[in-house]
Symmetry: D2
Subunit: 400 residues, 4 copies
């Protein structure tokens, strides 16, 4: 088989940036306008109003010109003081990175070791908090959906544990790869600071980052001693109610966000979540049929936006990804840090549908063949069985 | 299974208009310019130069603001006189429509009846021409790739038959759904008038139509008595060498065409033809695996741009298409005239690749399930086997 | 002064194609869809409904994939028979071209000679019609706004003359450069066939052409003997009520037209007409201030979409245009046929505003300077005085 | 005069964001890609290579997903330690804002008071530095082009003064509204840290920010004690040589930047600077003709990207701007902080040309009329005289 010249659409199936709807790209592709004028202020106010529905909050939301990492930093510098202690659970690569951000600002992070095969073990968090009689922990930091492993954590369970103990720490949650795809209920779960960015479930290019902020977090900011300017909430919040920013915002990206939010709200949150679940299940059915392993080992914590798949020992996930990119023009996510070359990750989030998923899984299945990776044929078929069950389905492992 | 809100990309798998590359749409999306200025003239000259490579001609090409039907008409009115006789073979719906155009201009068409299950039967054409001792037939009209049935005809064989007989009729060929996808050799095959349009293998929106014209056809035009103005070749040819038109051309579509031609030439004609063959074969493998019938019954004439599939009697192809559109957001082609509701057509041409094909066939397979149409599972798998054969392939029907 | 590298936006001030709004270009820049599907049918029906408001008709409208020349041809071939006589008045280059189209189809055109300095002289038309006792004239053809001279004709006056005489000829009107810019009342003026195209007041790229058709014209078509296929109204009208076409329509251009119509209707016809009048007046004020001559010598017939300006004898209008294009990146219209090199034409139609006009006139004024063409400074200032009169205006020639 | 419905293009003549070329918007409007793939890495490397030519440096450049304010902060936190002293001169609103950023990080800023009517008074900087025998000042911070006043400062003179004294402080320069428009020679002027952003001379939407960094600044970073994560140069520099980033970059904006850089380099830096000078001069000629005052009172320091104009006492600049926006659809910059309502600012930078400038000044002149602000007619004419001098020019004030 010779090299194939690439034609047709690239399949971008990394777990973010996700595919951007044409409507959104076209909205971005509009002349820039005066960011201090009334028209733009109206767009900003509308956008901040609509995004609250996605975050399921009636509280404060700030929007940065930044990647999601900036919103991690913003969460830290707006609420904490040098030397403060916080509690985290190791869920994977992104929890590690967030920890690193905190430590760079002199925060002491108690980082409970994890296997990367499951989400936050709430019992361990609860145990540590219950030992913390004098409330040294100023915050609990958790990643809702760990993009490196395809594992979600039960944020509400963490909140309930904190409430049971009456622990006053702030609850900060990275919802970067869950928001707009997997149910996230900011107000109901009493999250104090949420971190999100534009390029995942929000179906946007990277470049915008968000914090949703509770009253308690805002209050904490009044005494927090870490220096801050760009990330400072106070100035952002003071201006954003009128549709303005302390500095020139990413005007064109905000055009796009408005369009993306409209699309999400037209679909409806419950439909969005059901769709992602449907695609997560079908993907996992394919993986099972191939006889490959999932990184996530806890069925109740399977991610519906990304599936991390183990290749058999002695085989290279990166070589597989290179073959798939070269032969089928599909980008898959790499294994990160300790999972490097052992894992490939399939993004199935955002602007996506059944046939795109079928094409994606076909690319993986053909890639497995071409790479000589031991597997059983039939993953795509299993996915079709999951998406459109036969009237008399063949016996198969039923999920959950 | 409840209604699914459509997200992700629509699968446009009708046999044209075909999917348009983003690069082409973006080229169209450019401010209009003076069509009498030097910059535009340069674009026109470049475009007419490059399209000759696709048509495989060094001869004259004219470009109309029109759909392909206009180029059918142009072929007639530029070469024939009222009452002239021409010879055609019935290959399907589009040969019928072209016949109708000719008859509207007072041309007497000898229309050899065909089954719609194969292409032009060259022997029958040859027999009719051999009887035509006094060369009453002024032209032979043939459809290269009959879009309604998924059948190609052997144009070069027709030409050879004409040459064997020394018959002076013009050879006019509809290459609408073959040009840029299936090998078409204008000069080598000595075609006198080719008809094409922008929205198939040229990966463009509809709106541009083309004639490629031999010296002999131009000469015929000098005595042809049908009235013509918009379609008149003389004025077009006189101006187009300098990059101008007798009337305001479709400037923005020409921007797009230039980009599309660049993409095609970057891929290379032989790669393009091989790719379409690869996708045609995989599609037919899927149809066979499902146990459904192909309209085209002559393997040497299978179309590599469109596959027309018969649904079992007692079932509705249109209901199947409606289900697939509703559930999986994919458009397929309908059966036309006498094939209405009996056939659905899968377009696999233009800006397309393996994973798009896999998604397409998955949509058909799931649609068959949901519609209760009797079939055997495994069409998608058969297509994957065709696209990326297993090292030890399962025994299967080998095509050709 | 050395050559300037072009930056910023090109000023496209030819009298069409006119500048296209970004909204319209962006609407065109959307994936193509199934032209036989329900979604596209809805777009077509909406578009045909809305364009009737611009044409001010409740009657039939057909839309071609073609340039405006095609709609000229359509008007002829759908209503007339070979040898029919029609009456026209020579208003300029475009009336000549339309005459030529008619003659190519065997129509005998009585072409009343005109000076190119004014519009249709209705008295002359009336005189000819009154001599035509046995109603040999099957149609009167008139150009509403003669783009080559910047002159409008009084279509309603022609109709009234025809009605006074009870002459049954059809009234056919070229509204190519007036529709959507200068008041055109199809039904009230009892026009039988209107010809228009997309690239002028409709703010679209070229590629779509239109006929608005009276019941009487449709009836005439039933006995008209000219051959027709592509341009045939019957088939178009039969299908278009359901949003379909006899052949693949220019889908992406229709996306754009829908958007353009929305913009026009949002502005409102009376506002549009007033805006064009305002810009026509200001342009003429500039021309007068420069001391140059207008081609149109009848103030009641000044065009509000295009102004044709005479350069003093011994000077080259084309050299002036080349200087302006080279130095100021502005395209102006050339003088056509007998006005070649004697005239330049300023388009001030479509997607346009006061500051674009000021920039346009500044380019002309600076071009006059650089070209050494005798003139008086102050044209731009005179235009500003027209657009935003000073509280105590300087004495100036008042128009009309 | 009644309200005018807005049509045609908006005139965005604020001093940034500036008008974005269609080519750049169209480049942004492209599907997002894998930011960890080879194709994107190539784009990043090319972009960082080309931007160095604009900055006139062969040294290190980092690119942030952020507004320019982020790059101010980055300059501070990467080089300084809490309690460090720096020296600044008050040139206007933006020097104040940068000072504020520094102070938020515990930097002690000696802020030499200025009139806002001229740039940095190098003698005062030199005097302070010469008093600083023990080199308490770790950095001198200067704004190259003060956007609030339309005044440039002589950065090279500051550098020479520092060198004369052998003062080791870092020289940090805000080139936000000069880079790509007004000559800025990073290496020759021995600037240690440059701050820039995308939405001014780089002709891009806001959302990207830049630091150009000397070896000395990088070395200073090794001992600088301010906390940093998002803005940290080390990680950025380590990855960017290979085309990667520590976090997901603004992929689509980087597509646009690549296109914008290509356009700038095609024009050529010397042509760009000459063009901006030409437009600055013409704008000031208009202001003088109107009899209005310039905020900048030092001719050698006139800005060529923005002109700040004083309205006569008793009149409101904001009311004027509102009139111009309402009647002529043009956005102008407001007076900031102490200049609020006293000043309006005309941006004449980036993707701009003579006719856009003429339209801009026509809008101001008509706005002055409609607002009843005392002025002399003829500003536009004076600008035309500046752009295209008459062969026998009328006597006029010659600039410089």
């Amino acid at each position: 088989m010779e090299a194939i010249v690439h034609t047709g659409r690239h399949f971008l199936q990394i777990p973010g940036p996700s595919n951007i709807p044409d409507r959104v790209l076209r909205a971005i592709d509009r002349p820039v306008m005066d960011h201090r004028g009334a028209e733009f202020a109206g767009i900003v106010k509308e956008t901040l109003h609509e995004i609250r529905k996605i975050i399921q909050t009636s509280g404060a939301v700030v929007m940065y010109s930044a990647s999601g990492s900036g919103a991690w930093e913003a969460a830290i510098v707006n609420t904490l003081s040098p030397g403060d202690r916080v509690l985290m659970f190791e869920t994977g690569h992104f929890s590690r990175l967030w920890r690193q951000v905190a430590e760079r600002f002199g925060i002491r992070v108690d980082y409970l070791p994890g296997s990367w095969h499951r989400g936050v073990v709430v019992e361990e968090i609860e145990a540590k908090l219950s030992e913390d009689k004098d409330h040294q922990y100023k915050a609990v930091l958790a990643v809702h959906n760990e993009t490196s492993t395809g594992t979600t954590s039960d944020i509400f369970a963490i909140r309930k544990a904190m409430n049971r103990l009456g622990h006053p720490a702030l609850l900060m949650v990275d919802a970067v790869s869950s928001l707009g795809s997997i149910e996230y209920r900011h107000d109901e779960w009493q999250v104090d600071v949420m971190i999100a960015s534009s390029q995942k479930g929000l179906m946007m290019p990277p470049g915008l980052a968000f914090n949703a902020i509770s009253e308690k977090a805002i209050a904490a900011g009044k005494t927090a001693k870490l220096s801050r300017s760009y990330w400072d909430w106070q100035e952002m919040l003071a201006l954003s109610n009128n549709g303005f920013f302390p500095y020139t915002p990413s005007i064109n990206l905000i055009y796009g966000l408005r369009e993306a939010l409209q699309m999400l709200l037209d679909e409806g949150l419950s439909n969005i979540f059901a769709r992602h679940q449907r695609h997560g299940q079908a993907t996992r059915a394919a993986v099972r049929a191939w006889g490959l392993g999932l990184v996530c080992q806890e069925p109740s914590e399977y991610s519906n936006t990304v599936t991390a798949v183990l290749v058999p020992e002695g085989h290279s996930a990166d070589a597989l990804r290179a073959t798939i990119l070269g032969k089928f023009d599909m980008s898959l996510g790499a294994g990160l840090s300790k999972l490097a070359d052992k894992v490939f990750r399939i993004g199935h989030l955002g602007h996506f549908n059944d046939l795109m998923l079928a094409g994606t899984l076909a690319g993986v299945e053909m890639g497995l063949r071409l790479s000589g990776i031991p597997h059983t044929d039939g993953g795509v078929m299993a996915a079709l069985d999951s998406l459109a069950p036969r009237s008399k389905p063949a016996p198969s492992v039923v999920e959950k």
